[in-house]
């Protein structure tokens, strides 16, 4: 088995190449930083098995952020037989920079010049043959998205011609390297001694620590080498990092000048035009808002019909299931658990939660593919800076709309650990895909009216709620920056990629399919036991009162003070494994304890809630509390993994909960005056 690594700058199509080779479905997206962790897959070519790793994108091997570190450590210290460096043909010069750096570590490199279709459209031509001659390693051209050139890439895997060029540095530096090399002999394992020497000279603490771990010994404990290094450094008196980069960048420029021809100097004029509008003073922010509202509109409108249909179908089916169970003489408690517990929670999740989730998600994926997300970060960075955090937090928030766990791990793209932690702790204020349908349902039932066609009102309310979430994100980021996570804003550099036309059909099919499978899977794992538990809770009596009532009335005084009630609170707590079961649990609990109301359409749901004392205030409080719902179990695990700290995980749970309680308390108190 051969190990192959896919490296390269961010957003050049590494994951796309990976997917084609392995047939897997790694997420891709048109913005730098989509992949933040290694993924591996296996494929076979000409009877050889390959284990290929998709790495996060990185501009250089001097890692600054967590995800770049992951890539750097893999390229430098993991065993691999080959590194495929994927490059962007449109921006080859900058990409060659990384190629040259990687060639310093290993000879076994294949350069894959991707996005040739885009380059062609922009009238940029790359002389691949000449590039191969200059670099001395195999060079292949691909358009991964159209699956072009992959055969050549596969062919190159068997290549034996590796004779890479070497970047020559400043004479003083070269002498310094030559002086150190003898001392390193035999001590650098598989690493290229010249590269080790360079890194000892340019000394980066993090890299040095990784190096120490890899080599299993601390070079600096060798007094002799240490003194040598010290002397050499003093003698040459250079800014070594600067010198090294300068030489590499200049070399890349020189090569690019030889192999790239621009036949249209103004090749990105069209992108510029779009950018001028999307980031303008006047339209920048409003366009973002309108886009969000359009997405909501499509989601609500589109989910309406299938939702209604499924709902009717399942309640129609319910009668027959009951009849059938009676027919075969199942014990009453069993059919109760099965139908009133499990069946109803499950079908609720499928009919009411699933359609909006399955529509919203692909819409967001389309947006992601178009290249719009980095512009959001660009537009909002100033506001984040004011809160002493980083504009890239806007990207993690966008990911949070899909799933908070993804948003949390996506925070790796943020350089400063302090700002990254802020992004992790506040991600929950963006309602994830699982909480959206809850909000939409409550808004439809309580604010708009079920039969009303006033969809615009729902959208406005939903948007206001999102804006509240964004406001809370800023507020909490600011407060954290001024208290426990004190610090000044660090830097922000973000590449704005070219706009790309999303592959509509592929994205739609893929993500609707993925979402549906995912939600169904989770419904089966979580909703079924939850449905059973809540039924048991409601039907096991102690002192003639059900267990559920005991717990609910215990929580009631507190819950009432913040505008909720005991049952709602239980539902939120039981929603820990999956947000989408909050409403079904709530309904189940009400129905089990109270009047039996026929459960056949949304109007009956409204009745169930009203009979159980819901008012407008309750609905508002539920919406706000849902916005501040503590992270679900998956997200908590991710937070634990990303922060490596139980303390911060706990903070991430308590922080939104306390804010939710405070907000709901205020709303409840204010409502008394109306």
């Amino acid at each position: 088995m051969k190990v192959v690594a896919l490296a390269g700058n961010p957003n050049v199509g590494k994951s796309t190449v990976f997917n084609i080779l392995t047939g897997m479905h790694q997420h891709t997206g048109n913005w730098p930083g989509k992949t933040v962790d290694n993924a591996n897959g296996i494929f076979k070519y000409k009877n050889i098995n390959y284990n290929i790793y998709d790495l996060p994108g990185t501009y250089s091997l001097m890692a600054h952020s967590k995800e770049e570190e992951v890539a750097r450590d893999f390229i430098c210290f993991e065993e691999h037989d080959l590194v495929i460096v994927v490059c962007d043909a449109v921006c080859l010069e900058r990409n060659l920079n990384l190629v040259l750096q990687i060639l310093e570590i290993t000879d076994k490199v294949i350069v894959c010049v991707n996005l040739l279709d885009e380059a062609k459209k922009k009238k940029i031509s790359v002389n691949l043959k000449k590039l191969q001659e200059i670099l001395g390693v195999p060079v292949v051209g691909t358009s991964a998205r159209n699956k072009k050139g992959i055969d050549k890439l596969l062919n190159a895997l068997e290549s034996k011609k590796f004779n890479p060029i070497e970047v020559k540095y400043d004479d003083n530096l070269e002498t310094a390297i030559a002086n150190i090399l003898p001392y390193l002999e035999g001590k650098t394992k598989n690493l290229n001694p010249r590269w080790v020497a360079l890194n000892l000279l340019s000394y980066d603490e993090k890299l040095y620590n990784s190096l120490k771990d890899y080599l299993n010994f601390d070079i600096f404990t060798d007094e002799f080498i240490k003194n040598q290094l010290f002397n050499i450094k003093r003698e040459i008196d250079l800014d070594i990092v600067n010198t090294i980069t300068n030489s590499t960048v200049k070399k890349a420029e020189e090569i690019a000048n030889k192999v790239v021809t621009f036949n249209n100097k103004d090749y990105n004029a069209k992108d510029r035009k779009i950018d001028k509008i999307l980031t303008s003073k006047l339209f920048g922010i409003p366009i973002m808002l309108i886009l969000l509202m359009v997405i909501f509109w499509i989601t609500i409108k589109g989910a309406n019909y299938p939702s209604d249909l499924l709902f009717k179908f399942f309640s129609w089916l319910e009668k027959y299931i009951l009849n059938f169970l009676q027919l075969i003489n199942t014990p009453w408690w069993f059919s109760e658990i099965l139908v009133n517990g499990i069946y109803r929670v499950l079908t609720w999740v499928i009919s009411v939660m699933l359609p909006p989730m399955a529509i919203f998600f692909p819409l967001f994926t389309l947006l992601e593919d178009s290249g719009f997300l980095p512009r959001i970060a660009f537009n909002l960075d100033k506001a984040f800076k004011k809160c002493c955090s980083c504009g890239k937090q806007a990207l993690t928030m966008c990911m949070g709309f899909g799933c908070n766990a993804v948003g949390v791990s996506g925070a790796r793209i943020i350089d400063s650990p302090r700002e990254r932690l802020i992004a992790i702790l506040t991600n929950v204020f963006v309602p994830c895909n699982g909480r959206f349908p809850t909000m939409i349902t409550i808004i439809t039932i309580f604010f708009v009216g079920i039969n009303s066609n006033n969809i615009f009102l729902s959208i406005v309310i939903l948007t206001l709620l999102i804006l509240l979430g964004i406001f809370l994100t800023f507020l909490v980021s600011f407060l954290l920056s001024k208290t426990v996570l004190k610090g000044i804003p660090s830097s922000f550099t973000l590449e704005l990629p070219p706009y790309r036309r999303p592959q509509f059909l592929k994205v739609l099919v893929r993500s609707i399919f993925n979402r549906t499978i995912f939600v169904l899977g989770r419904a089966i794992i979580v909703a079924i036991p939850a449905g059973a538990i809540i039924w048991l809770f409601a039907n096991i009596n102690i002192d003639g009162i059900s267990l559920l009532n005991h717990v609910a009335s215990f929580l009631d005084p507190f819950a009432k003070a913040i505008g909720l009630d005991g049952v709602i609170l239980i539902a939120f707590i039981l929603g820990f494994p999956a947000n989408e079961i909050v409403v079904p649990i709530m309904l189940m609990a009400y129905m089990a304890t109270g009047q039996i109301i026929e459960f056949s359409n949304l109007e009956s749901l409204r009745q169930i809630l009203v009979v159980n004392g819901w008012t407008l205030t309750t609905a508002i409080c539920v919406l706000v509390f849902s916005l501040c719902h503590f992270p679900c179990s998956t997200t908590c695990l991710t937070i634990k993994k990303e922060t490596g700290s139980l303390k911060w995980t706990l903070v991430s749970i308590l922080l939104p909960t306390i804010i939710g309680i405070i907000l709901c308390f205020i709303i409840k108190q204010l409502s008394i005056f109306f």
Binding site: H64, V241, D381, A383, T493
Partner: protein
Amino acid sequence: MFLCDMKLGNKGIVKKVKANDNIIKRLLDIGLIEGTLVECVLKSPFNDPKAYLIRGATIAIRDDDCKEIEVDLL
């Protein structure tokens, strides 16, 4: 003139790269060294950050991060 003072559409050549350590490494990464051609191509709605065309890529940089990078206007 400094990079952050460039007006929309201005082009220039980087004369001297100076910034704090973290930022400088990022900038070197994307190929912003002495002698590089830069063009200011976009302003965000609040004027800061701006985006520059650097070696074929559009890169957003905060004013604070590039206020000490000297450029010669073309």
